[in-house]
Assembly symmetry: C2
Homo-oligomer: 205 residues x 2
């Protein structure tokens, strides 16, 4: 053999995609070559451009090819509400599911001292400056409900408390459409423990 055939190179290269093993990579390569060369050409172009140009938003650290992401540069978004998430996927998920019109801050991780990830790595100094200079009226913490996510949430709550900014956290409990029977014990215990009183009359707080 001289060089590896291009088809095999393509199959190998496709395996850098998450969740793609040898069989799927093979199927993808042949699908593109046999049925969708145009799609393949377009994908290769967009991918090359994205890998080259996409960086971080200077304000919220989300992924964008511009200095500021689409949300931070959108004047109609309400800068008084700041939602803090771990990763760019969370921004996409919240944008798709909710009608939130505020802005985000993307930590790009969670506090994990054992892995050497401290406040600086999560851009919390940048966030602290923001709390000083233009404090939001509400902070919504939407880290993942894992041990490290909860620790990060706790740290954020203390940061916000120093600046007297009200903090809320997204609700954790039994997912809608789920069944108690199939909900894991930790979630169920948490949902039971944080049960909320339902009032027959609308309550004022």
């Amino acid at each position: 053999m001289t060089a590896q055939p291009l088809l095999e190179q393509l199959i190998d290269a496709l395996r850098c995609l998450p969740g793609v093993g040898p069989k799927s990579a093979q199927r993808m390569a042949l699908h593109l070559l046999e049925r969708n060369r145009e799609g393949g050409v377009r994908l290769s172009e967009v991918m090359a451009q994205a890998m080259q140009e996409i960086g971080r938003c200077v304000e919220c650290r989300d992924l964008t090819e511009f200095e500021r992401c689409g949300i931070c540069s959108n004047q109609s978004r309400d800068r008084r509400q700041l939602c803090i998430v771990e990763s760019p996927v969370d921004v996409l998920a919240l944008e798709q599911a909710t009608t939130f019109r505020g802005v985000y801050f993307v930590l790009l991780g969670r506090l994990s001292p054992l892995d050497g990830i401290g406040p600086a790595e999560l851009g919390l100094d940048q966030l602290a400056t923001r709390f000083e200079e233009s404090p939001p009226e509400e902070i919504i913490v939407a880290t993942n409900p894992t041990v490290e996510g909860e620790a990060t949430a706790y740290y954020l709550q203390r940061m916000a408390a120093k600046h007297d900014i009200p903090v809320s956290m997204i609700a954790h409990g039994v997912p809608l459409g789920g069944e108690l029977e199939y909900t894991d014990q930790t979630t169920l215990a948490h949902a039971f423990g944080t049960r909320q009183r339902v009032a027959p009359e609308p309550v004022k707080d």
Copy 2:
């Protein structure tokens, strides 16, 4: 919104891959951007080159960036044994699983008159010329055991018979490691019907 953000373009473009829905495309895009830009750059380059350069082998119709594929241009492959398959994936599967040292012919489909796929579309005229000019000593038909695959196999058997070339077909039956209980009825009936006598002594034929 002016143009679509590059990240969304990438997510959209990734969906041209088979089996990739919106969620997987999102996960792939973010994985490449956050953890493996090098892999993404390499993938985009190889993909662009593959879409541009990969064509058909003039001899066996398999996918290759050269005039002749690696197998057809390999002098150590035995040209007296010709294995006929439906698709380039089948060549890859057989190369990985068997020690076959002959050559292949790739139909790129199967006879399907209703879809307008006749002998000409499968390159059977090219195959007939080959049977005339340099007939192989054995033809191994390895089409898929579907109705159309079987019809194609039958057509190939008749073509070979005209030139007095012996034909064999790969065995169909209960897969190794499978259990009779979980084998579908058609396969089981076929396996039962094509049972083979086992001889206590080696048999000469």
